[in-house]
């Protein structure tokens, strides 16, 4: 491995200590640090200088380790986050600031952020906001929306951690310290150096036939290659999918590929052999076939059918109807209609998919980042053709998910490779591979017509949305179902018709992405609400308040909530900002001809949990003989904060401080299924299970100790102490027999939200609760260039009960950043924007101050009244921005992203 050629040896100082390495020609410093010097705190997100996650200091200057030849580090001092955290008190202080502000969510960008910030703070102890943005502009974050990072670096006052850690209090993330010190292990941080690697062979065309040559001979002739994998190596079914009726995606394509980037084979070998392997040398012959890469072509007579039985490539549809939309539109005093489109949006988590697998005692263990460990296990059962006892899924830290890591990606390759070779294996997707092969947000093509009577009451709503679901179903059926339920927005609409269709194309599979199609439909509905208000001569906010849902008013599915409908309060809370910001914009515009400001609003709602389907979470907890409270926290924390929120709920129910609880993660060998991190369900559903688990554990202890319900419990070395009106009682745990999990008390409780099926008209009770949101956006448009700069957001969210207000703000700010990206800059085009410099996501310079207004209209089902939040956030953001652009310019953008080119064209089309 290391050639002992002293001439090519490189000596440098690493975090204060001298090191000698023997890098290959052109070896990246990031690889040297991670694979030769055990600095797994240096994260790799793109290998192209686009994300900055790998930032290290070289003689004090931040550089991307992925773009630095290791040889160039000769005689330099290289510092990484872990070293700085240990050696530089300023970085250690900065880590505290990051924790106090919740500036690390998933934590994958945190090393890059903190190292860059350290360089800045060494030069300037009290930087301005602009200086922070300049210094951190080279590090992308997909979770936080950057504002809390700015707050942390500027040392703005943060929270004071509430030591009781109960529901409703600000506490630091319970897993925050490991993120800010560089200790958290993400999916690429598990495999030991030298582990066998996997290279996946992928289709270079959207649709192609292919034939393998003699791969076996190719493998046996090559130094260091161990084995290959194709469909023939799959012991079970060569199929996976997240919805049982739509399991249609092969692990390896057979005979024909359906999208560019689809896997056909994989090669396993030593790191050196894999590095040297040119994919063009692998014996595969490709024949490009005519492809349908848009929904219109895919439905034409000429188009090939992607999946048998799905005529005209229609995968499935959704439908909700109440009243008579056509009649009501005919009778309406005014109507508006429009056609709205959007493109693929890439999740762009900074951590590409990665993982590690090994065989242990005849079982396969798969370590990878995931949003749904038990679903991964169930998919592997089918693919591997074995029972679940033979499989262990161990989730690693997840460097962002946002929906895409609900589906399996590289898990089958890892498991199959470990089984075939009998050896440990690893695989890390390149950024391009991640973007090509994993799911995206569905492109949408929406026609909508809405009417209103003269008083401004909605009269008729007719919606049709076609969604490009790509080559495979993934979560497309969920999008098709959810959109008609949600397309009304949080409003009372008595005469409603909404249809949706998912159409297969030779594009990457579109799947789950924060909002499941609702952000797309909200663009159409909320844009037309502004048009309708204008036509009626009504104030857009007053129009929305007038039509907003409230308690005891049926939704378009006929569902009536007697409580917890907080949308009016969200909208009303925007009134002061609406008045003030519009006045300020007017004053600004009277003095400026080229730059124009506008204020826009939009609202949204989102049903928490599966649509009319069972959706349980189970939470196990227990007390160890030493008195330690243990929570098996199976709700995957992908940065949103489930580890903290679920623990706060559980701890409150048990009556201890959340900070005292020992968390055990979602390892499928030891922790029950808390369901998937999806559909904004974890705080609500797993939270409800955690509350039940905490309460049951408490009840068992109280019963055993025979003390009052209101007793205060303390868990100390081997003793539970309870204080109630009757005095203080002690229970010595050493005298109790631990169970198979080592618990002397235990509780395992399951919660499943009450829903009812939808009938043929989509009438029923699809969700036990909805969460509600309303956003106000202020933009400045350069009317000559078409550039749009967001100036400010005010975001009101009805979360029922904010379990941890800091984490609520984190979700709001991060969701707004993703909504802004979708609105203004993001469009994934297969073959063209397959990296993070052609595919743009917002940087720290793009996100303005965000004021979060937390509305707490408690929900009867939610734990302590809590509702879900994650997906709700980005639903109103894009339409609020588009409405603000209209307010600034009178140009109505109906196709996102609203790039400078499109905005300028729309302004020119006005002829002014």
């Amino acid at each position: 491995m290391n050639k002992l050629d002293l001439k090519s040896g490189t000596r440098f100082k690493l975090n204060g200590a001298s090191v000698d390495v023997f890098p290959e020609v052109g070896e990246r410093l990031s690889e040297t640090l991670r694979e030769r010097l055990d600095c797994r705190d240096v994260k790799i997100g793109c290998d192209a200088g686009d994300c900055g996650a790998c930032t290290v200091l070289m003689d004090g200057a931040p550089v991307c380790a992925c773009l630095t030849p290791t040889h160039q580090a000769a005689d330099a001092h290289v510092e990484t986050l872990a070293g700085l955290h240990k050696n530089d008190p300023m970085t250690a202080r900065l880590a505290q600031q990051f924790e106090d502000h919740g500036a690390a969510q998933c934590g994958i960008c945190t090393p890059g952020m903190m190292v860059s910030a350290t360089a800045l703070l060494r030069e300037k102890t009290t930087p301005t906001e602009a200086e922070v943005q300049d210094a951190l502009g080279g590090v992308l974050c997909r979770c936080t929306g950057y504002r809390k990072i700015i707050d942390a670096v500027m040392a703005r006052p943060g929270l004071t951690d509430d030591p009781k850690g109960q529901v409703g209090s600000f506490i630091r993330r319970l897993d925050g310290a490991q993120k800010t010190s560089g200790q958290e292990l993400f999916s690429d941080d598990i495999a030991p150096p030298g582990t066998l690697e996997i290279l996946v062979i992928r289709s270079p065309f959207p649709r192609a036939a292919f034939v393998f040559g003699d791969i076996d001979t190719f493998i046996s002739d090559a130094d260091g290659l161990e084995a290959s994998l194709t469909a023939a190596d799959i012991p079970g079914r060569n199929a996976f999918g997240v919805i049982p009726q739509f399991v249609d995606q092969p692990v390896f394509a057979e005979g024909e590929t359906r999208f560019r980037g689809e896997a056909v084979a994989a090669v396993i070998g030593t790191p050196e052999a894999i590095k040297a392997l040119d994919p063009a040398d692998i014996p595969v012959t490709w024949t490009e076939l005519p492809a349908a890469t848009d929904i219109h072509t895919a439905q034409s007579d000429e188009a090939a059918i992607l999946h048998e039985g799905r005529d005209r490539n229609v995968m499935c549809g959704g439908f909700v109807q109440c009243g008579n939309a056509e009649d009501a539109l005919d009778k309406a005093a005014v109507t508006v209609e429009g056609h709205f489109t959007s493109g693929f949006v890439e999740h762009a988590y900074i951590e590409p998919e990665a993982g590690f697998a090994r065989m242990v005692d005849g079982r396969v263990e798969v370590y990878a980042g995931t949003q749904a460990p038990v679903m991964d296990l169930e998919a592997l059962e089918i693919i591997l053709g074995c029972t679940r006892e033979k499989i262990r899924v161990v989730p690693t830290g997840v460097g962002g998910g946002f929906g895409s890591k609900l589906d399996i990606s590289l898990q089958p390759f890892l498991a199959l490779a470990a089984m075939k070779t009998g050896k440990p294996v690893r695989l890390t997707y390149t950024r391009t591979e991640s973007m090509q092969s994993t799911t995206k947000r569905h492109p949408s093509d929406i026609h909508l017509k809405i009417g209103a009577d003269a008083s401004g009451k909605i009269s008729g709503f007719s919606f049709f949305g076609a969604f490009d679901t790509g080559a495979y179903a993934s979560w497309g059926p969920t999008v098709a179902n959810r959109v008609p339920v949600h397309a009304s927005g949080p409003y009372r609409i008595t005469d409603y018709l909404a249809r949706s269709q998912g159409i297969h194309t030779n594009n990457p599979p579109a799947g789950a992405f924060r909002g499941f199609g609702v952000p797309q439909s909200a663009i159409a509905q909320e844009s037309l609400f502004d048009a309708l208000a204008e036509k009626l001569g009504m104030d857009p906010l007053a129009f929305r308040i007038e039509n907003a849902l409230q308690d005891n008013v049926p939704t378009v599915c006929g569902q009536v909530f007697s409580q917890g409908v907080g949308i009016r309060e969200c909208l009303k809370s925007l009134q002061p900002a609406w008045a003030a910001e519009r006045k300020a914009a007017e004053a600004f515009n009277s003095k400026n001809d080229v730059l124009k400001r506008g204020v826009g609003i939009a609202a949204g709602w989102y049903g928490c949990g599966n649509t009319s389907l069972p959706n349980p979470s189970t939470i196990k907890s227990g007390i160890r003989p030493d008195g330690r409270v243990v929570l098996h926290q199976g709700a995957m924390d992908i940065g949103q904060g489930a580890n903290t929120v679920i623990a706060q709920i559980f701890a409150t129910a048990l009556g201890v401080a959340a900070q005292s609880v020992l968390l055990v993660g979602a390892d499928t060998d030891v922790t029950p299924d808390a369901g998937k991190t999806s559909a904004s369900r974890q705080t609500y559903v797993s939270g409800a299970a955690a509350k039940l688990s905490g309460a049951a554990l408490r009840a068992r202890i109280l019963e055993r100790m025979n003390i009052a319900d209101d007793a205060e419990l303390r868990f100390e070395d081997g003793v539970i102490t309870a204080s109630d009106a009757g005095g203080t009682h002690r229970l010595d745990l050493a005298g109790l027999d631990p169970d198979q999990d080592g618990f002397v008390f235990r509780a395992e409780e399951t919660y499943d939200p009450p829903t009812k099926p939808l009938d043929e008209n989509g009438q029923g009770s699809p969700y036990a609760q909805f969460g509600y949101a309303a956003h106000l956006a202020v933009v400045e448009v350069d009317t000559r260039l078409g550039t749009v700069k967001a100036q400010k957001f005010v975001a009101a969210h009805d979360v029922g009960k904010a379990i941890n207000p800091m984490l609520v703000e984190g979700q709001v700010q991060g969701g707004i950043a993703q909504g802004l990206g979708m609105a203004l800059m993001e469009e994934y085009i297969p073959g063209r924007t397959e990296n993070l410099h052609d595919y743009l996501i917002p940087t720290i310079g793009d996100i303005p101050p965000i004021e979060t207004i937390i509305i707490e209209d408690p929900d009867e089902h939610g734990p302590y009244g809590a509702k879900g939040l994650g997906e709700h956030v980005l639903i109103p953001t894009a339409p609020a921005l588009l409405n603000a652009i209209y307010a600034a310019t009178e140009a109505r953008i109906t196709s996102v992203p609203a790039t400078p080119s499109r905005v300028r064209a729309a302004i020119k089309a006005l002829g002014t």
């Binding site: 020609v25 900055g52 070289m58 160039q72 360089a119 300049d134 063009a280 078409g786 064209a905």
Partner: protein
């Protein structure tokens, strides 16, 4: 297959004359272009060559050594006419990129969207090329850049310095970059302008260059000539002024949009170079 990081130029030129060697400076274009399975190569790392690391101010020209990184240039004490170059430098990628990437590498990489090119064209920069066999030659930058990813660099040559003749005393400069986001963004279009006004505020020297709107960034000679004798607010940029430009449609913007935007950006660049905000 070896990695060379010589410390003197003579040794570097010897290595440069070997066949199939790759010249590497900051590495910011080298690594992203690497492909899976790419064979190991001979790399000539120019960043330790002492002759290439200096910035020399002479009476007639300023000489930028080819190993100077963008952050060195941003921090250098230079006349106001170089503000366009510094502003471009501050928008090359990110701080991380500026701390690694060299200005010379930006030229040798010859991207149509290279941020360094319009300012250096406006500064009438020359490049100094050296080879062991043929010694030193200098070329105007506009002759060095031949097309998309194409330069006049010979197979045995190194770019050793960028030489900028002393700009007109009292000239101001500006740089306007148009992108879809803040930071880390490839330009949709950019304009560099260096303008000098006489005592009564009329323009008597104008150099304007546009990037990302043609295979190689271009000076706008007709516009420059039209500026002379006018106050900055009298300059009206018209389509005729943009005849040197041949923009394309791509994911960042349409050709028509680029021309439209450049018209505006040129006007702004001229006014800003004159100190009007």
């Amino acid at each position: 297959m070896s990695y060379h990081r010589p410390t003197d130029l003579a040794h570097a030129l010897e290595i440069a004359s070997q066949p199939a060697r790759t010249i590497l400076a900051g590495g910011t274009d080298y690594f992203p272009a690497k492909r899976q399975g790419q064979q190991a190569e001979t790399v000539l790392d120019v960043t330790a060559i002492s002759e290439l690391k200096s910035l020399t101010k002479g009476p007639e020209a300023i000489r930028f050594g080819a190993a100077l990184r963008w952050s060195d240039i941003i921090r250098a004490d230079l006349p106001a006419a170089f503000d366009t170059l510094k502003k471009a430098g501050r928008q090359v990628g990110s701080v991380q990129i500026q701390n690694a990437a060299t200005m010379a590498g930006n030229l040798c990489n010859a991207s149509p969207a290279a941020d360094g090119v319009p300012p250096l064209l406006a500064l009438d920069a020359q490049v100094e090329l050296a080879s062991a066999a043929r010694g030193i030659r200098t070329l105007p930058l506009s002759d060095f850049l031949k097309g998309v990813r194409q330069t006049a660099l010979g197979p045995d040559e190194l770019l050793t310095a960028i030489i900028v003749p002393t700009p007109p005393a009292g000239a101001g400069s500006s740089f306007e970059k148009l992108g879809s986001r803040d930071y880390l963004v490839i330009s949709i279009a950019m304009v560099a302008a260096i303008i000098r006004q006489n005592a009564d505020g009329r323009i008597d020297d104008a150099r304007i260059a546009v990037g990302s709107c043609s295979a190689v960034a271009q000076r706008l000679r007709v516009l420059e000539a039209d500026c002379l004798g006018k106050h900055p607010d009298q300059v009206a940029v018209k389509p005729d002024h943009l005849s040197e430009l041949t923009p394309i449609d791509d994911v960042r913007g349409s050709a028509a949009y680029r021309l439209d935007a450049v018209t505006e950006l040129c006007g702004r660049a001229i006014r800003k170079a004159c100190g009007d905000e």
